[in-house]
C-alpha cells in the first residue's frame, strides 16, 4: 500500500485502503500526544500556512498543533489586518505565499471550491481543505471516522450511523457521509424539510424525516450544529421547537442501540441540537473527537508531506 496523495481537497479521492492506512498512522500519532514531549522532527524545515478567511478556532488550532507537533514551521495568515482586507485577490495571495516558500496551505473559505482554485494556482505547495462554504470539510470527516473506528474495534462495516440536524448548510455532513460509506457504514439522515437539501438522492445515505426512525438501532448518533441565523431565516420557528422535535436527549437515544456513541463537530448549542445530559453523558465522545482531530491531521500531514515527491 503506497500513499499517493499530496493534497486533501475532499475525502472522495480517498479509497478504503487510503483511509485505513491513514487511520492506522493516526493511532501512532495519538500515541505521541500522550508523551511529555509531543514534538517530532518529521516535517522539520517545511513551512505551512494556515489561511483562514472565516472565523474558526478549533479547526485552526487543531491544524496548528498537528503542524507544530510534526516539527513544521507554522504561519497563521488571517483575513483581518492582512493584505486581503486591502483588496488582494486570492490568486495574488497564493503566489505571495508560494514566493515566501510555503510548502503547504491549509485553507478555509466561505466560497465552495476555493481550495480547488488555490490548488490550480499554486505551482508546488500542497493544499488542505479546512472547510469551503457548505461544501466539504474533509479533515472533520477523518477525525469523525477515526473516533468511531477506534470505538468499533477498528471496523465500521455494517455499522448504522444516524446524522441529525442542519443537513442543508453542513459541509461536515457531505464529507462525513462519503468517508463513513467508504468504510462500509450505513448512514441515515434526519432533518426538518426546511433544513434538508433538495434532491439528496445523490448522497450516499437514506433520509428519515422522523429522527426516531433515523436513530432506530443506530450504533452512533451524530448531531449537527444549528446556527442561530437559520432561525432568523425562518427555517424553523424557535429553538425550543427545534429541540422538542429534532434535538437529541436521553429519550431520543432510547431508540438507538444501548451505549450508542454520541458525536458532534462542535461548538455545541446546549438545549438546541443536543441536551446537556447527553453532551456530558457517558456515551458522548465529543471531547475525544477534538483529540482525534489533532492525531488524524498529523497522520494526514505526515502521509502527504513526510516523504519525497514521486
Amino acid at each position: 500500500m503506497v500513499w499517493k496523495h499530496r493534497n486533501l481537497l475532499d475525502v472522495d479521492v480517498l479509497s478504503r485502503e487510503d483511509l485505513e492506512l491513514l487511520l492506522d498512522q493516526s493511532v501512532h500519532m495519538e500515541d505521541l500526544l500522550n508523551r511529555p514531549i509531543k514534538k517530532v522532527p518529521a516535517l522539520r524545515g517545511r513551512m505551512i500556512v494556515n489561511l483562514f478567511f472565516e472565523a474558526s478556532t478549533r479547526t485552526r488550532v487543531s491544524f496548528e498543533l498537528a503542524e507544530k507537533f510534526l516539527g513544521a514551521d507554522v504561519v497563521n495568515w488571517s483575513v483581518s489586518g492582512s493584505s486581503i482586507s486591502k483588496g488582494e485577490t486570492l490568486r495574488d495571495t497564493a503566489w505571495t505565499l508560494e514566493a515566501m516558500g510555503a510548502d503547504a496551505v491549509v485553507v478555509r473559505h466561505p466560497m465552495p471550491g476555493t481550495p480547488w482554485y488555490l490548488k490550480e494556482k499554486l505551482k508546488r505547495a500542497s493544499v488542505f481543505n479546512a472547510g469551503d462554504g457548505a461544501h466539504a470539510h474533509p479533515t472533520q470527516a477523518l477525525l469523525d471516522v477515526y473516533t468511531a473506528w477506534k470505538h468499533f474495534d477498528r471496523s465500521l462495516d455494517g455499522r448504522k450511523i444516524a446524522i441529525v440536524g442542519d443537513i442543508l448548510h453542513s459541509r461536515v455532513v457531505r464529507s462525513d457521509i462519503t468517508a463513513f460509506a467508504t468504510l462500509g457504514a450505513k448512514v441515515t439522515l434526519s432533518a426538518p424539510g426546511s433544513l434538508m437539501p433538495r434532491g439528496h438522492a445523490h448522497l450516499n445515505a437514506t433520509y428519515q424525516a422522523d429522527p426516531r426512525e433515523a436513530v432506530k438501532d443506530a450504533d452512533m448518533v451524530y448531531l449537527l450544529r444549528i446556527q442561530r441565523e437559520r432561525q432568523q431565516d425562518g427555517l424553523f420557528p424557535s429553538f425550543e421547537e427545534y429541540h422538542w422535535r429534532y434535538g437529541a436527549n436521553e429519550e431520543l437515544m432510547r431508540y438507538a442501540k444501548p451505549g450508542a456513541l454520541v458525536m458532534h463537530p462542535g461548538p455545541i448549542n446546549r438545549g438546541v441540537e443536543i441536551a446537556s445530559e447527553l453532551a456530558d453523558g457517558p456515551d458522548s465522545v465529543i471531547l475525544e473527537q477534538v483529540r482525534s482531530g489533532v492525531a488524524t491531521r498529523m497522520g494526514l500531514l505526515y502521509l502527504c508531506m513526510g516523504g519525497a515527491e514521486a
Binding site: W3, M29, P41, L70, G307, A308
Partner: protein, 183 residues
C-alpha cells in the same frame, strides 16, 4: 537493480549462539539485568530483542524489561524517500530515569538509524546509560557511533548488501551478503 545472494554468513545456529553470547555480555556488563531495558528498533531489532530477552530469562531467572522503538519520524532522510516509511509505533512504557537502555538492531552500517534512535529515546525520557547491541556490524560509519555488543563483525564493500532474516518477520534465521548484478 537486482541483488544476488553471495555468501551465507550466519545460519540459524550461528545466530542463536551470537545472541546468547551477547545476552551474557549484557548481563555481565550491567551486573545483572535489574536496571536493563532491551529496546528493539523496528523492524528486525524487535524480534532480536525478544530473542535476547528469552535468553536472559533463562540465564538470569528473570525477564528483562522489553520495548520497541520506531525511529521513522526522526530519520534524517525522510524528505528524500518515496514512498515515505510508515510509522509502526513506539512502546517503551517505563520511566527511563535510573535505567540502562540496550538498543537492539540487526545491522549497524552508517550509524544514522542509531542517531535517530537516540533522539527518539531522549524525547521519551532520560536513561542513565544507552548501550548498543547489533547482530552485524558491517562498517562504513558516517557518524561517530560505536556498538557495545556485536554478534558478528562483517567487513563489507559499500556496493554489497547485508540481508538479515529473522523469524517471525522472515521465514528463517539467516544472514547473507548480497551483491549487485546488472542482469
Amino acid at each position: 537493480m537486482v541483488w544476488k545472494h553471495k555468501t551465507k554468513v550466519l545460519n540459524q545456529e550461528d545466530m542463536e549462539r551470537a545472541l546468547k553470547r551477547m545476552s551474557h555480555e549484557i548481563a555481565e556488563r550491567n551486573k545483572g539485568i535489574d536496571k536493563v531495558i532491551l529496546v528493539g528498533i523496528h523492524r528486525r531489532g524487535v524480534p532480536l530483542a525478544e530473542r535476547m530477552a528469552d535468553f536472559l530469562e533463562q540465564f538470569e531467572g528473570q525477564r528483562p524489561a522489553l520495548g520497541k522503538l520506531d525511529i521513522t519520524l526522526y530519520r534524517d532522510d525522510l524528505s528524500l524517500r518515496y514512498p515515505q516509511p510508515l510509522v509502526r509505533g513506539t512502546d517503551v512504557p517505563w520511566d527511563l530515569e535510573g535505567r540502562r537502555i540496550v538498543l537492539v538492531d540487526d545491522v549497524l552500517y552508517t550509524g544514522r538509524t542509531v542517531r535517530a534512535a537516540l533522539d527518539a529515546l531522549m524525547d521519551i525520557g532520560r536513561p542513565d546509560q544507552v548501550q548498543l547491541a547489533v547482530l552485524v556490524d558491517r562498517g562504513h560509519r558516517e557518524l561517530p557511533i560505536h556498538p557495545d555488543y556485536v554478534g558478528k563483525n562483517l567487513p563489507t564493500s559499500s556496493s554489497e548488501l547485508v540481508e538479515v532474516s529473522v523469524t517471525p518477520i522472515d521465514e528463517c534465521d539467516e544472514v547473507w551478503i548480497c551483491e549487485r548484478t546488472d542482469s
